[in-house]
Protein backbone atom coordinates (compact mmCIF):
# COMPACT_ATOMS: atom_id res chain seq x y z
CA UNK A 1 0.00 0.00 0.00
CA UNK A 2 2.62 2.46 1.11
CA UNK A 3 4.89 1.12 -1.59
CA UNK A 4 2.40 1.82 -4.36
CA UNK A 5 1.89 5.28 -2.93
CA UNK A 6 5.57 6.00 -3.05
CA UNK A 7 5.76 4.51 -6.52
CA UNK A 8 2.96 6.79 -7.66
CA UNK A 9 4.92 9.76 -6.49
CA UNK A 10 8.21 8.66 -8.01
CA UNK A 11 6.87 7.46 -11.33
CA UNK A 12 6.36 10.96 -12.75
CA UNK A 13 9.99 11.72 -11.93
CA UNK A 14 11.11 8.68 -13.87
CA UNK A 15 8.83 9.31 -16.79
CA UNK A 16 9.38 13.06 -17.00
CA UNK A 17 12.65 12.95 -18.94
CA UNK A 18 11.25 10.41 -21.40
CA UNK A 19 8.11 12.45 -21.99
CA UNK A 20 10.23 15.51 -22.38
CA UNK A 21 12.38 13.75 -24.94
CA UNK A 22 9.42 12.62 -27.00
CA UNK A 23 8.06 16.14 -26.98
CA UNK A 24 11.44 17.41 -28.01
CA UNK A 25 11.86 15.10 -30.96
CA UNK A 26 8.28 15.72 -32.02
CA UNK A 27 9.01 19.42 -32.38
CA UNK A 28 12.08 18.78 -34.51
CA UNK A 29 12.02 20.29 -37.94
CA UNK A 30 11.56 18.37 -41.16
CA UNK A 31 14.25 15.80 -41.96
CA UNK A 32 17.06 17.43 -43.93
CA UNK A 33 20.82 16.98 -44.29
CA UNK A 34 22.94 18.11 -41.38
CA UNK A 35 26.12 20.04 -42.14
CA UNK A 36 29.28 17.96 -41.77
CA UNK A 37 31.97 19.23 -39.42
CA UNK A 38 35.00 18.68 -41.61
CA UNK A 39 38.07 17.70 -39.67
CA UNK A 40 35.93 16.54 -36.72
CA UNK A 41 33.24 14.14 -37.82
CA UNK A 42 33.99 10.49 -38.32
CA UNK A 43 32.88 8.34 -41.22
CA UNK A 44 30.22 5.91 -40.08
CA UNK A 45 31.51 3.23 -42.40
CA UNK A 46 35.29 3.43 -42.48
CA UNK A 47 35.82 5.36 -39.21
CA UNK A 48 38.09 7.87 -40.87
CA UNK A 49 37.82 11.56 -40.23
CA UNK A 50 35.86 13.40 -42.83
CA UNK A 51 38.10 16.07 -44.28
CA UNK A 52 37.29 16.51 -47.94
CA UNK A 53 34.14 18.55 -48.73
CA UNK A 54 34.15 17.20 -52.27
CA UNK A 55 33.19 13.78 -50.97
CA UNK A 56 31.41 14.12 -47.58
CA UNK A 57 28.07 12.26 -47.88
CA UNK A 58 25.14 11.59 -45.65
CA UNK A 59 22.40 9.06 -44.94
CA UNK A 60 19.32 10.30 -43.11
CA UNK A 61 16.87 8.29 -41.05
CA UNK A 62 13.20 9.20 -40.87
CA UNK A 63 13.85 10.20 -37.29
CA UNK A 64 16.20 12.92 -38.48
CA UNK A 65 19.35 11.11 -37.37
CA UNK A 66 22.20 11.65 -39.82
CA UNK A 67 25.02 9.21 -40.57
CA UNK A 68 28.01 10.91 -42.15
CA UNK A 69 30.53 9.44 -44.60
CA UNK A 70 33.85 10.57 -45.95
CA UNK A 71 33.22 9.28 -49.45
CA UNK A 72 30.45 8.29 -51.80
CA UNK A 73 31.71 4.72 -51.83
CA UNK A 74 31.37 4.52 -48.04
CA UNK A 75 27.81 5.81 -48.22
CA UNK A 76 27.00 3.27 -50.89
CA UNK A 77 28.58 0.42 -48.95
CA UNK A 78 26.77 1.38 -45.75
CA UNK A 79 23.51 1.66 -47.63
CA UNK A 80 23.97 -1.73 -49.27
CA UNK A 81 24.52 -3.30 -45.88
CA UNK A 82 21.59 -1.56 -44.24
CA UNK A 83 19.05 -1.07 -46.97
CA UNK A 84 16.51 -3.25 -45.22
CA UNK A 85 16.22 -0.71 -42.42
CA UNK A 86 12.71 0.71 -42.93
CA UNK A 87 13.83 3.86 -41.19
CA UNK A 88 16.04 5.08 -44.01
CA UNK A 89 14.80 8.40 -45.28
CA UNK A 90 17.24 9.67 -47.89
CA UNK A 91 20.81 9.61 -49.20
CA UNK A 92 22.85 12.71 -49.97
CA UNK A 93 26.08 13.26 -51.88
CA UNK A 94 27.96 16.52 -52.45
CA UNK A 95 28.17 18.15 -55.83
CA UNK A 96 31.86 18.00 -56.75
CA UNK A 97 32.04 21.65 -57.79
CA UNK A 98 29.67 23.49 -55.42
CA UNK A 99 30.01 21.02 -52.51
CA UNK A 100 26.27 21.33 -51.85
CA UNK A 101 24.21 18.26 -50.98
CA UNK A 102 22.17 16.68 -53.76
CA UNK A 103 20.04 13.51 -53.55
CA UNK A 104 22.17 10.47 -54.38
CA UNK A 105 19.56 9.06 -56.78
CA UNK A 106 19.45 12.15 -59.00
CA UNK A 107 23.20 12.83 -59.08
CA UNK A 108 25.43 11.73 -61.96
CA UNK A 109 28.77 10.15 -61.11
CA UNK A 110 32.21 10.22 -62.64
CA UNK A 111 34.37 7.17 -62.16
CA UNK A 112 37.88 8.18 -63.13
CA UNK A 113 41.15 6.65 -62.11
CA UNK A 114 42.83 10.04 -62.24
CA UNK A 115 40.43 11.61 -59.81
CA UNK A 116 41.07 9.64 -56.64
CA UNK A 117 38.33 9.74 -54.03
CA UNK A 118 39.11 9.18 -50.32
CA UNK A 119 38.50 5.46 -50.25
CA UNK A 120 40.07 4.50 -53.52
CA UNK A 121 37.05 3.76 -55.70
CA UNK A 122 37.43 7.11 -57.48
CA UNK A 123 33.79 8.18 -57.53
CA UNK A 124 32.73 11.83 -57.67
CA UNK A 125 29.20 13.22 -57.84
CA UNK A 126 27.77 16.02 -59.97
CA UNK A 127 24.41 17.66 -60.01
CA UNK A 128 24.17 17.68 -63.81
CA UNK A 129 25.66 16.03 -66.85
CA UNK A 130 26.99 19.39 -68.10
CA UNK A 131 28.95 19.99 -64.93
CA UNK A 132 30.31 16.47 -65.07
CA UNK A 133 31.49 16.90 -68.63
CA UNK A 134 33.53 19.96 -67.65
CA UNK A 135 35.57 17.83 -65.30
CA UNK A 136 35.58 14.76 -67.47
CA UNK A 137 37.30 16.70 -70.25
CA UNK A 138 40.33 16.93 -68.02
CA UNK A 139 40.35 13.56 -66.26
CA UNK A 140 38.37 11.23 -68.46
CA UNK A 141 36.58 8.23 -67.00
CA UNK A 142 33.15 6.70 -67.21
CA UNK A 143 29.78 8.18 -66.26
CA UNK A 144 27.63 6.24 -63.80
CA UNK A 145 24.21 6.59 -62.27
CA UNK A 146 23.42 5.76 -58.63
CA UNK A 147 22.42 2.19 -59.39
CA UNK A 148 25.71 1.63 -61.18
CA UNK A 149 27.61 3.14 -58.27
CA UNK A 150 25.92 0.64 -55.98
CA UNK A 151 26.81 -2.18 -58.35
CA UNK A 152 30.43 -1.03 -58.48
CA UNK A 153 30.77 -0.84 -54.70
CA UNK A 154 29.09 -4.20 -54.36
CA UNK A 155 31.48 -5.76 -56.79
CA UNK A 156 34.68 -4.06 -55.66
CA UNK A 157 34.13 -4.17 -51.92
CA UNK A 158 31.31 -6.21 -50.52
CA UNK A 159 31.68 -9.33 -52.60
CA UNK A 160 35.39 -9.45 -51.90
CA UNK A 161 34.91 -8.93 -48.20
CA UNK A 162 33.03 -12.19 -48.12
CA UNK A 163 36.22 -13.97 -49.08
CA UNK A 164 38.17 -12.91 -46.05
CA UNK A 165 38.18 -16.40 -44.60
CA UNK A 166 40.22 -17.46 -47.58
CA UNK A 167 43.82 -17.17 -46.51
CA UNK A 168 45.72 -16.69 -49.67
CA UNK A 169 43.47 -15.28 -52.31
CA UNK A 170 44.95 -12.60 -54.45
CA UNK A 171 44.38 -9.08 -53.27
CA UNK A 172 41.36 -7.57 -54.81
CA UNK A 173 42.18 -4.09 -56.01
CA UNK A 174 43.41 -3.74 -59.48
CA UNK A 175 46.66 -1.92 -59.56
CA UNK A 176 47.37 0.59 -62.18
CA UNK A 177 49.74 -0.50 -64.89
CA UNK A 178 53.20 0.61 -64.17
Amino acid sequence: MIKTQILKKILPLLVAPVVFLIGFTACEKAVQPVPINYGQDECEYCRMKITDPRYGSELLLKTGKAYKFDSIECLAAYYLKNKNNPNIHSLWVPDFLTKKFIPAETAVYLHSKDLPSPMGLNISAFKSKEELEKVRQKYGGEVLNWEQVLQLVKKEWLEKEGQKTDHHHHHHHKDMNM
Binding site: P35, N37, Y38, G39, Q40, D41, E42, C46, R47, M48, K49, T51, D52, P53, R54, F96, L115, P116, M119, G120, V135, K138, E161, K164, H167, H171, H173, D175, M176, N177, M178
Partner: protein, 423 residues
Amino acid sequence: MKRLFLLLFLLYTAGLEAKTITVCPDCPINSIKKALEQAEDGDTILIKKGLYREGNILVKKSVKLIGEGYPVIDGEKKHEVITVKANGVLVKGLVIQNSGKSDIEDIAGIKFFRTKNCRIEDCILKNNFWGIYFAASKNGIIKNNKVIGPAKLSYLKSAFGTQIETNFGNGIHLWHCKDMLVEGNHVKNHRDGIYFEFVKNSTIINNLSEENLRYGLHFMFSHRDNYINNTFRKNGAGVAVMYTKYVYMANNRFEYNWGAASYGILLKEIYDSYMFHNVFYKNTTGIFADNTNRTIIEENDFIENGWAVRIWANSQNNLFKHNNFIANTFNVVTNSFQNPNTYTENYWSDYKGFDLNRDGYGDVPYRPVSLFGYFTENYPQSIILTRSFFIYVLDLTERIFPMLIPSKLVDEKPLMRKYEWSK
Protein backbone atom coordinates in the same frame (compact mmCIF):
# COMPACT_ATOMS: atom_id res chain seq x y z
CA MET B 1 95.28 -5.84 -60.38
CA LYS B 2 93.60 -6.46 -63.65
CA ARG B 3 90.32 -5.87 -62.08
CA LEU B 4 91.44 -2.57 -60.59
CA PHE B 5 92.49 -1.33 -63.97
CA LEU B 6 89.20 -2.28 -65.41
CA LEU B 7 87.45 -0.37 -62.67
CA LEU B 8 89.59 2.72 -63.16
CA PHE B 9 88.95 2.60 -66.84
CA LEU B 10 85.24 2.35 -66.36
CA LEU B 11 85.29 5.30 -63.97
CA TYR B 12 87.30 7.34 -66.43
CA THR B 13 85.01 6.70 -69.34
CA ALA B 14 81.99 7.40 -67.15
CA GLY B 15 83.62 10.68 -66.13
CA LEU B 16 84.10 11.55 -69.75
CA GLU B 17 80.52 11.05 -70.61
CA ALA B 18 78.82 12.41 -67.53
CA LYS B 19 79.45 16.10 -67.11
CA THR B 20 78.52 18.48 -64.30
CA ILE B 21 76.55 21.62 -65.12
CA THR B 22 76.71 24.34 -62.52
CA VAL B 23 73.78 26.66 -61.98
CA CYS B 24 73.88 29.83 -59.92
CA PRO B 25 72.08 33.20 -60.14
CA ASP B 26 75.20 34.92 -61.54
CA CYS B 27 76.53 32.06 -63.65
CA PRO B 28 76.20 31.85 -67.42
CA ILE B 29 73.65 29.18 -66.77
CA ASN B 30 71.44 30.94 -64.31
CA SER B 31 68.38 28.72 -64.38
CA ILE B 32 67.74 25.06 -63.75
CA LYS B 33 65.58 24.90 -66.85
CA LYS B 34 68.51 26.00 -69.02
CA ALA B 35 70.76 23.45 -67.38
CA LEU B 36 68.18 20.76 -68.03
CA GLU B 37 68.04 21.70 -71.69
CA GLN B 38 71.79 21.20 -72.00
CA ALA B 39 72.01 18.13 -69.86
CA GLU B 40 72.03 14.57 -71.00
CA ASP B 41 71.22 11.38 -69.20
CA GLY B 42 73.71 10.77 -66.43
CA ASP B 43 74.73 14.39 -66.01
CA THR B 44 74.86 16.21 -62.71
CA ILE B 45 73.31 19.64 -62.29
CA LEU B 46 74.93 21.42 -59.42
CA ILE B 47 72.69 24.16 -58.09
CA LYS B 48 74.43 26.79 -56.03
CA LYS B 49 72.88 28.77 -53.23
CA GLY B 50 70.21 31.21 -54.38
CA LEU B 51 66.53 31.71 -55.09
CA TYR B 52 65.12 30.09 -58.22
CA ARG B 53 61.66 31.02 -59.47
CA GLU B 54 61.10 29.16 -62.71
CA GLY B 55 57.52 28.01 -62.70
CA ASN B 56 57.19 24.26 -63.15
CA ILE B 57 60.51 22.49 -63.64
CA LEU B 58 59.95 19.36 -65.65
CA VAL B 59 62.72 16.75 -65.46
CA LYS B 60 62.60 14.28 -68.35
CA LYS B 61 66.25 13.16 -68.28
CA SER B 62 68.07 10.86 -65.88
CA VAL B 63 70.06 13.57 -64.13
CA LYS B 64 71.24 14.34 -60.64
CA LEU B 65 69.91 17.62 -59.22
CA ILE B 66 72.24 18.46 -56.40
CA GLY B 67 72.02 21.58 -54.27
CA GLU B 68 74.92 23.28 -52.63
CA GLY B 69 74.17 25.41 -49.56
CA TYR B 70 70.49 24.68 -49.91
CA PRO B 71 69.33 26.65 -52.94
CA VAL B 72 65.64 27.58 -52.79
CA ILE B 73 63.35 26.48 -55.60
CA ASP B 74 60.12 28.46 -55.30
CA GLY B 75 56.78 27.68 -56.94
CA GLU B 76 55.35 31.11 -56.11
CA LYS B 77 52.15 29.40 -54.93
CA LYS B 78 51.23 28.81 -58.55
CA HIS B 79 53.11 25.82 -59.88
CA GLU B 80 54.10 22.32 -59.12
CA VAL B 81 57.73 23.08 -58.31
CA ILE B 82 59.46 20.01 -59.77
CA THR B 83 57.92 17.24 -61.83
CA VAL B 84 60.07 14.20 -62.57
CA LYS B 85 59.14 11.93 -65.44
CA ALA B 86 62.39 10.03 -65.94
CA ASN B 87 64.15 7.10 -64.33
CA GLY B 88 67.21 7.22 -62.11
CA VAL B 89 66.84 10.84 -61.08
CA LEU B 90 68.53 11.97 -57.88
CA VAL B 91 67.37 15.09 -56.09
CA LYS B 92 69.50 16.17 -53.20
CA GLY B 93 70.05 19.16 -50.92
CA LEU B 94 67.33 21.46 -52.23
CA VAL B 95 64.76 23.62 -50.57
CA ILE B 96 61.51 23.18 -52.47
CA GLN B 97 58.77 25.57 -51.43
CA ASN B 98 55.46 27.28 -52.12
CA SER B 99 53.82 24.97 -54.60
CA GLY B 100 50.48 25.93 -56.06
CA LYS B 101 47.22 24.73 -54.58
CA SER B 102 44.13 23.43 -56.25
CA ASP B 103 40.68 22.20 -55.49
CA ILE B 104 40.81 19.36 -57.95
CA GLU B 105 44.47 18.63 -58.71
CA ASP B 106 47.19 17.18 -56.54
CA ILE B 107 49.92 19.78 -56.94
CA ALA B 108 53.12 18.78 -55.18
CA GLY B 109 56.44 20.26 -54.17
CA ILE B 110 58.05 17.47 -56.12
CA LYS B 111 56.20 14.83 -58.03
CA PHE B 112 57.68 11.64 -59.51
CA PHE B 113 55.45 10.18 -62.15
CA ARG B 114 56.03 6.74 -63.65
CA THR B 115 59.65 6.53 -62.56
CA LYS B 116 62.15 3.86 -61.58
CA ASN B 117 65.16 4.14 -59.29
CA CYS B 118 64.59 7.75 -58.33
CA ARG B 119 65.87 9.17 -55.07
CA ILE B 120 65.16 12.28 -53.09
CA GLU B 121 67.55 12.93 -50.24
CA ASP B 122 68.35 15.65 -47.72
CA CYS B 123 65.78 18.05 -49.11
CA ILE B 124 63.66 20.54 -47.24
CA LEU B 125 60.07 20.92 -48.44
CA LYS B 126 58.26 23.93 -47.09
CA ASN B 127 54.71 25.15 -47.55
CA ASN B 128 53.77 22.91 -50.40
CA PHE B 129 50.26 21.69 -51.10
CA TRP B 130 51.48 18.11 -51.37
CA GLY B 131 55.08 17.48 -50.38
CA ILE B 132 56.90 14.55 -52.00
CA TYR B 133 54.62 12.73 -54.37
CA PHE B 134 55.41 9.43 -56.07
CA ALA B 135 52.87 8.05 -58.51
CA ALA B 136 53.17 4.76 -60.35
CA SER B 137 56.85 4.36 -59.51
CA LYS B 138 59.24 1.61 -58.52
CA ASN B 139 62.41 1.26 -56.46
CA GLY B 140 62.35 4.82 -55.19
CA ILE B 141 64.10 6.12 -52.11
CA ILE B 142 62.91 9.02 -49.95
CA LYS B 143 65.53 9.67 -47.36
CA ASN B 144 66.35 12.24 -44.67
CA ASN B 145 64.01 14.91 -45.93
CA LYS B 146 62.20 17.47 -43.92
CA VAL B 147 58.66 18.05 -45.11
CA ILE B 148 56.82 20.87 -43.38
CA GLY B 149 53.40 21.90 -44.63
CA PRO B 150 50.98 24.71 -43.95
CA ALA B 151 48.31 22.70 -42.07
CA LYS B 152 48.41 23.66 -38.41
CA LEU B 153 46.72 21.41 -35.87
CA SER B 154 45.20 24.45 -34.24
CA TYR B 155 42.82 24.65 -37.20
CA LEU B 156 41.00 21.73 -35.65
CA LYS B 157 40.36 23.43 -32.37
CA SER B 158 37.82 25.85 -33.70
CA ALA B 159 36.62 23.51 -36.40
CA PHE B 160 33.44 22.30 -34.86
CA GLY B 161 30.31 23.68 -36.45
CA THR B 162 32.21 26.14 -38.59
CA GLN B 163 33.66 25.60 -42.00
CA ILE B 164 37.43 25.45 -41.76
CA GLU B 165 40.17 25.13 -44.29
CA THR B 166 40.57 21.42 -44.82
CA ASN B 167 42.06 21.44 -48.26
CA PHE B 168 45.60 20.32 -47.57
CA GLY B 169 47.73 17.68 -49.23
CA ASN B 170 49.89 14.93 -47.79
CA GLY B 171 53.54 15.17 -46.81
CA ILE B 172 54.99 12.06 -48.40
CA HIS B 173 52.45 10.61 -50.76
CA LEU B 174 52.90 7.32 -52.60
CA TRP B 175 50.34 5.99 -54.98
CA HIS B 176 50.58 2.76 -56.93
CA CYS B 177 54.24 2.16 -56.12
CA LYS B 178 56.41 -0.86 -55.45
CA ASP B 179 59.68 -1.59 -53.66
CA MET B 180 60.06 1.84 -52.09
CA LEU B 181 62.09 2.99 -49.10
CA VAL B 182 61.01 5.88 -46.90
CA GLU B 183 63.71 6.47 -44.34
CA GLY B 184 64.61 9.05 -41.74
CA ASN B 185 62.22 11.76 -42.82
CA HIS B 186 60.52 14.33 -40.64
CA VAL B 187 57.00 15.22 -41.75
CA LYS B 188 54.89 17.86 -40.14
CA ASN B 189 51.76 19.95 -40.72
CA HIS B 190 50.28 18.19 -43.70
CA ARG B 191 46.94 16.49 -44.05
CA ASP B 192 48.44 13.01 -43.76
CA GLY B 193 52.12 12.80 -42.91
CA ILE B 194 52.95 9.69 -44.89
CA TYR B 195 50.36 8.27 -47.22
CA PHE B 196 50.47 4.96 -49.08
CA GLU B 197 47.81 3.84 -51.45
CA PHE B 198 48.42 0.70 -53.49
CA VAL B 199 52.07 0.55 -52.44
CA LYS B 200 53.64 -2.86 -52.07
CA ASN B 201 56.81 -4.44 -50.72
CA SER B 202 58.00 -1.20 -49.26
CA THR B 203 59.61 -0.11 -46.03
CA ILE B 204 59.05 2.91 -43.83
CA ILE B 205 61.79 3.22 -41.26
CA ASN B 206 63.10 5.75 -38.72
CA ASN B 207 60.67 8.51 -39.64
CA LEU B 208 59.05 11.09 -37.42
CA SER B 209 55.57 12.16 -38.44
CA GLU B 210 53.92 14.68 -36.19
CA GLU B 211 51.24 17.32 -35.90
CA ASN B 212 49.55 16.46 -39.13
CA LEU B 213 45.96 17.47 -39.51
CA ARG B 214 44.62 13.99 -40.04
CA TYR B 215 46.92 10.99 -39.91
CA GLY B 216 50.59 10.67 -39.16
CA LEU B 217 50.63 7.57 -41.35
CA HIS B 218 47.83 6.45 -43.58
CA PHE B 219 47.84 3.52 -45.88
CA MET B 220 45.30 1.64 -47.87
CA PHE B 221 45.57 -1.38 -50.10
CA SER B 222 49.29 -1.55 -49.46
CA HIS B 223 50.36 -5.14 -48.90
CA ARG B 224 53.59 -6.62 -47.61
CA ASP B 225 55.00 -3.37 -46.25
CA ASN B 226 57.20 -2.90 -43.19
CA TYR B 227 56.88 -0.04 -40.71
CA ILE B 228 59.78 0.00 -38.33
CA ASN B 229 61.02 2.34 -35.67
CA ASN B 230 58.88 5.32 -36.60
CA THR B 231 57.33 7.84 -34.26
CA PHE B 232 53.81 9.11 -34.88
CA ARG B 233 53.10 11.92 -32.52
CA LYS B 234 50.31 14.40 -31.92
CA ASN B 235 48.53 13.84 -35.17
CA GLY B 236 44.95 15.01 -35.50
CA ALA B 237 43.62 11.49 -35.78
CA GLY B 238 46.70 9.30 -35.25
CA VAL B 239 47.50 6.54 -37.72
CA ALA B 240 45.11 4.72 -40.03
CA VAL B 241 45.87 1.52 -41.86
CA MET B 242 43.25 -0.01 -44.03
CA TYR B 243 42.38 -2.75 -46.48
CA THR B 244 45.77 -4.31 -46.33
CA LYS B 245 47.38 -7.69 -45.79
CA TYR B 246 50.74 -8.74 -44.40
CA VAL B 247 51.65 -5.58 -42.54
CA TYR B 248 54.68 -5.75 -40.30
CA MET B 249 54.87 -3.05 -37.67
CA ALA B 250 57.62 -3.07 -35.10
CA ASN B 251 59.26 -0.70 -32.65
CA ASN B 252 57.03 2.22 -33.54
CA ARG B 253 55.84 4.81 -31.06
CA PHE B 254 52.29 6.06 -31.25
CA GLU B 255 51.93 8.91 -28.82
CA TYR B 256 49.86 11.93 -27.86
CA ASN B 257 47.21 11.31 -30.46
CA TRP B 258 44.74 12.78 -28.04
CA GLY B 259 41.62 14.24 -29.60
CA ALA B 260 37.92 13.63 -29.86
CA ALA B 261 38.29 10.99 -32.62
CA SER B 262 41.98 10.11 -32.52
CA TYR B 263 43.68 6.74 -32.51
CA GLY B 264 47.12 5.49 -31.92
CA ILE B 265 46.30 3.25 -34.84
CA LEU B 266 43.09 2.47 -36.66
CA LEU B 267 43.11 -0.99 -38.21
CA LYS B 268 40.38 -1.37 -40.78
CA GLU B 269 40.25 -4.59 -42.77
CA ILE B 270 43.73 -5.72 -41.95
CA TYR B 271 44.68 -9.36 -42.44
CA ASP B 272 47.54 -11.57 -41.39
CA SER B 273 49.65 -8.85 -39.87
CA TYR B 274 52.07 -8.56 -37.02
CA MET B 275 52.52 -5.80 -34.43
CA PHE B 276 55.55 -6.16 -32.26
CA HIS B 277 57.32 -3.98 -29.71
CA ASN B 278 55.24 -0.91 -30.37
CA VAL B 279 54.49 1.65 -27.69
CA PHE B 280 51.08 3.31 -27.46
CA TYR B 281 51.29 6.20 -25.08
CA LYS B 282 48.57 8.76 -24.28
CA ASN B 283 46.30 8.16 -27.21
CA THR B 284 42.55 8.55 -27.02
CA THR B 285 42.40 5.04 -28.43
CA GLY B 286 45.51 2.85 -28.64
CA ILE B 287 44.36 0.36 -31.26
CA PHE B 288 40.97 0.52 -32.90
CA ALA B 289 40.40 -2.72 -34.76
CA ASP B 290 37.51 -2.93 -37.19
CA ASN B 291 37.44 -6.08 -39.26
CA THR B 292 41.01 -7.01 -38.45
CA ASN B 293 41.80 -10.68 -38.72
CA ARG B 294 44.52 -13.21 -37.96
CA THR B 295 46.78 -10.50 -36.65
CA ILE B 296 49.26 -11.03 -33.88
CA ILE B 297 49.72 -8.23 -31.38
CA GLU B 298 52.63 -9.16 -29.24
CA GLU B 299 54.91 -7.48 -26.73
CA ASN B 300 53.52 -3.99 -27.08
CA ASP B 301 53.05 -1.38 -24.37
CA PHE B 302 49.72 0.39 -23.92
CA ILE B 303 50.25 3.18 -21.45
CA GLU B 304 47.80 5.82 -20.24
CA ASN B 305 45.48 5.64 -23.19
CA GLY B 306 41.75 6.37 -23.02
CA TRP B 307 40.88 3.06 -24.61
CA ALA B 308 43.89 0.75 -24.99
CA VAL B 309 42.09 -1.53 -27.45
CA ARG B 310 38.75 -1.07 -29.12
CA ILE B 311 38.01 -4.17 -31.08
CA TRP B 312 34.82 -4.85 -32.96
CA ALA B 313 33.23 -8.22 -33.19
CA ASN B 314 33.99 -8.43 -36.90
CA SER B 315 37.65 -8.77 -35.93
CA GLN B 316 38.49 -12.41 -35.49
CA ASN B 317 41.28 -14.78 -34.67
CA ASN B 318 43.63 -12.12 -33.41
CA LEU B 319 46.07 -12.82 -30.64
CA PHE B 320 47.04 -10.43 -27.86
CA LYS B 321 50.00 -11.84 -26.01
CA HIS B 322 52.64 -10.48 -23.67
CA ASN B 323 51.38 -6.93 -23.94
CA ASN B 324 51.54 -4.47 -21.07
CA PHE B 325 48.32 -2.59 -20.32
CA ILE B 326 49.20 0.15 -17.89
CA ALA B 327 46.89 2.83 -16.49
CA ASN B 328 44.44 3.00 -19.37
CA THR B 329 40.94 4.32 -18.72
CA PHE B 330 39.46 1.34 -20.55
CA ASN B 331 41.62 -1.65 -21.37
CA VAL B 332 39.52 -3.46 -23.93
CA VAL B 333 36.09 -2.61 -25.27
CA THR B 334 34.03 -4.41 -27.84
CA ASN B 335 30.58 -4.07 -29.32
CA SER B 336 29.53 -7.66 -28.96
CA PHE B 337 28.71 -10.39 -26.48
CA GLN B 338 31.01 -12.73 -28.37
CA ASN B 339 34.74 -12.89 -28.20
CA PRO B 340 36.42 -14.33 -31.28
CA ASN B 341 39.94 -13.29 -30.20
CA THR B 342 42.51 -14.56 -27.75
CA TYR B 343 44.02 -12.63 -24.86
CA THR B 344 46.71 -14.41 -22.96
CA GLU B 345 49.67 -13.73 -20.72
CA ASN B 346 49.27 -9.96 -20.81
CA TYR B 347 50.05 -7.67 -17.94
CA TRP B 348 47.07 -5.59 -16.77
CA SER B 349 48.00 -2.92 -14.27
CA ASP B 350 44.58 -2.91 -12.65
CA TYR B 351 44.51 -6.66 -12.09
CA LYS B 352 43.67 -7.29 -8.48
CA GLY B 353 44.20 -11.02 -8.16
CA PHE B 354 46.95 -12.94 -6.40
CA ASP B 355 49.54 -15.43 -7.40
CA LEU B 356 49.55 -17.97 -4.62
CA ASN B 357 51.40 -20.70 -6.49
CA ARG B 358 54.09 -18.22 -7.56
CA ASP B 359 54.13 -19.17 -11.23
CA GLY B 360 54.08 -15.53 -12.32
CA TYR B 361 50.45 -15.70 -13.46
CA GLY B 362 47.41 -14.48 -11.52
CA ASP B 363 45.28 -17.25 -10.06
CA VAL B 364 42.01 -15.84 -11.30
CA PRO B 365 41.40 -14.79 -14.89
CA TYR B 366 41.32 -11.08 -15.72
CA ARG B 367 38.28 -9.55 -17.44
CA PRO B 368 39.50 -6.54 -19.39
CA VAL B 369 36.07 -5.29 -20.51
CA SER B 370 33.77 -3.14 -18.39
CA LEU B 371 30.05 -2.83 -18.96
CA PHE B 372 30.34 0.90 -19.45
CA GLY B 373 32.95 0.20 -22.09
CA TYR B 374 30.44 -2.01 -23.82
CA PHE B 375 27.82 0.75 -23.75
CA THR B 376 30.18 3.41 -25.04
CA GLU B 377 31.09 1.18 -27.96
CA ASN B 378 27.50 0.43 -28.94
CA TYR B 379 25.83 3.69 -28.01
CA PRO B 380 28.56 6.32 -28.37
CA GLN B 381 26.49 9.02 -26.71
CA SER B 382 26.51 7.16 -23.42
CA ILE B 383 30.10 8.34 -22.99
CA ILE B 384 28.61 11.53 -21.62
CA LEU B 385 27.92 9.57 -18.43
CA THR B 386 31.67 9.27 -17.76
CA ARG B 387 32.37 9.57 -14.03
CA SER B 388 28.71 9.41 -13.19
CA PHE B 389 27.89 7.56 -9.99
CA PHE B 390 25.47 5.52 -12.04
CA ILE B 391 28.35 4.13 -14.05
CA TYR B 392 30.24 3.01 -10.94
CA VAL B 393 27.18 1.24 -9.70
CA LEU B 394 26.57 -0.30 -13.10
CA ASP B 395 30.14 -1.59 -13.46
CA LEU B 396 30.19 -2.87 -9.92
CA THR B 397 26.94 -4.74 -10.44
CA GLU B 398 28.28 -6.26 -13.61
CA ARG B 399 31.43 -7.40 -11.86
CA ILE B 400 29.43 -9.09 -9.15
CA PHE B 401 26.70 -10.49 -11.39
CA PRO B 402 28.13 -10.72 -14.91
CA MET B 403 25.35 -10.67 -17.49
CA LEU B 404 26.30 -8.70 -20.56
CA ILE B 405 30.04 -8.88 -20.90
CA PRO B 406 31.24 -11.75 -23.07
CA SER B 407 32.09 -14.42 -20.55
CA LYS B 408 34.90 -15.71 -22.73
CA LEU B 409 36.63 -12.38 -23.06
CA VAL B 410 39.16 -13.11 -20.36
CA ASP B 411 42.87 -13.36 -19.97
CA GLU B 412 43.21 -16.74 -18.29
CA LYS B 413 46.85 -16.16 -17.45
CA PRO B 414 47.30 -12.51 -16.54
CA LEU B 415 50.91 -11.67 -15.75
CA MET B 416 51.68 -10.45 -12.25
CA ARG B 417 54.52 -8.24 -13.42
CA LYS B 418 55.15 -6.06 -16.42
CA TYR B 419 56.42 -8.07 -19.36
CA GLU B 420 59.97 -6.86 -20.05
CA TRP B 421 60.94 -6.74 -23.66
CA SER B 422 64.21 -5.08 -24.67
CA LYS B 423 63.80 -1.93 -26.70
